[in-house]
């Protein structure tokens, strides 16, 4: 689909990057169209990361204010992590030193707590696996291709983690942090770069399996993989 293309005509609901014009459903971005029952959406081939509530992101602290931290989440919006989300409800700027938890340059795996486009997205690090990322190799990819990296029910990312013996933290904002033995990190980074380059091609799973030296076979529950979500 390219912007202006009519995806389908009739009684449908416009979803992501789709606009209703009369009874036509028109694409707004370059990408692949997907129709599930009544919902029509376009999955863009490229583009910036727009925060959504409940997304996991990797943020880089760029500023420490009196009341919280500002984090670069690879978007046109700056993530904000309030102090009370880290220190608890009795947080007070005069008694707590924010820099003991995060300083400028620190990476965190965070969840988008709330975002409504009128204020900067609010981050939270409460939850399993969330918090400071102490070490690892940073890999950046197109945010729109993150679903391919994760794969159906996390199949792809689990496979890469298993065969490289690495811990991989994936942010929906396109920032990935790989940590583990040097050889494994190299392998995992290669696999991620392969997905970045060939995300739109068929049998991506097979290519990654070959790269990793994993047994080649079809992914469970065959179907359009681009709908993969964690």
């Amino acid at each position: 689909m390219i912007p202006g293309d009519v995806i389908v005509t009739g009684d449908y609901r416009p979803g992501m990057y789709v606009q209703r014009r009369g009874s036509d459903m028109v694409a707004l971005r370059v990408g692949l169209a997907e129709i599930v029952r009544n919902d029509v959406k376009v999955i863009p081939l490229s583009g910036a990361y727009i925060p959504r509530a409940e997304d996991m992101v990797v943020g880089k602290v760029v500023n420490v204010t009196g009341y919280g931290w500002e984090a670069d989440i690879n978007s046109c919006f700056v993530g904000y992590l309030p102090g009370q989300f880290v220190f608890g409800r009795d947080f007070s700027p005069s008694t707590h030193d924010l820099t003991t938890r995060f300083t400028v340059g620190d990476l965190m795996l965070a969840k988008i707590e709330a975002f409504d486009r009128t204020r900067d997205p609010q981050l939270s690090i409460r939850g399993p696996g969330l918090g400071k990322i102490p070490q690892g190799e940073i890999v950046k990819m197109t945010p729109m291709k993150i679903p391919r990296l994760i794969g159906r029910k996390g199949y792809m990312i689990n496979m890469i983690a298993e065969f490289s013996a690495c811990e991989i933290k994936v942010g929906q904002n396109g920032v990935v942090v790989v940590d583990g033995p040097a050889e494994g990190v190299r392998k995992a980074v290669q696999a991620i770069e392969l997905i970045e380059q060939e995300a739109h091609t068929a049998d991506l799973t097979t290519k990654v399996q070959q790269l990793l030296g994993a047994p080649v076979g079809p992914a469970p529950a065959a179907g359009p993989e681009n709908s993969g979500e964690q």
Binding site: D72, T103, V104, G105, L107, I133
Partner: protein
Amino acid sequence: MPAKSFVVETIKRNQIVELLSKGKRSDGRGLSELRKLEIKTHVIEKANGSAMVKLGNTEVLAGVKIDKGTPFPDTPNKGLLIVGAEVLPMAASYLEAGPPDESAIELARVVDRGVRESEMIDVSSLVIKEGKWVYSVFVDVNILNVDGNLFDATSYAVVSALLTAWMPKFVLENDVVKNTGEKMPLPVHKVPISVTIANINNTLVLDPTEEEEAIMDARITLDTDDDGNLCAGQKGEPGSFTPEQIITAAEWSIARGKEIRQQIKEAAGHA
């Protein structure tokens, strides 16, 4: 408010410092190795001289305009040579439009000084009528993409553009300056080469990338001329260099300068 300068991730900083302690760099270069340098000249048709320089991912475009002008009152028998540099807001995500900030001003001044103090151009021969009319040489530089070491990339672009520049021939007729329509080459005598070296955790690295610049303690820019004489320098950032480190930096500057000068001369078609 987003950050106004580049922030390096703490874990990346640790990686770079650890690699440097083993004498390695994160992009696989040697400590005194330059990134890939590409020079294209004659890129702006209407300018008197121009050059586009790529140093790794840093991209710089320079143009020369030569016209008649009035000399400064304190140097009535010298032509004008002014280098200006501007960093475009599109060059990096954290940059904003507006008047140049102090780093952009420093950039223009350091590059200007390198060209001026090496006496690359013989400004005393750019006089049409002493105290009244001289040639004015303006070199304007736009930074198109930022990936560290703007000093050297800008300097190479300015020098290449000047080497390819021509100037209109002016004559004085009844006290009026007339353009004869003829073209003549600029009186170029030397080819100054700027080399910037950063000090990160007491390891010297030549041609720092943006990541390396964000964590460096100090930086020094040294200009050398064709005979290997140091002719200009600038030290920046709060950290320091030991006397031995300065000697090493000067040796690197002279040695690398020779290779780079050769490359610039070839790209500009300058014998």
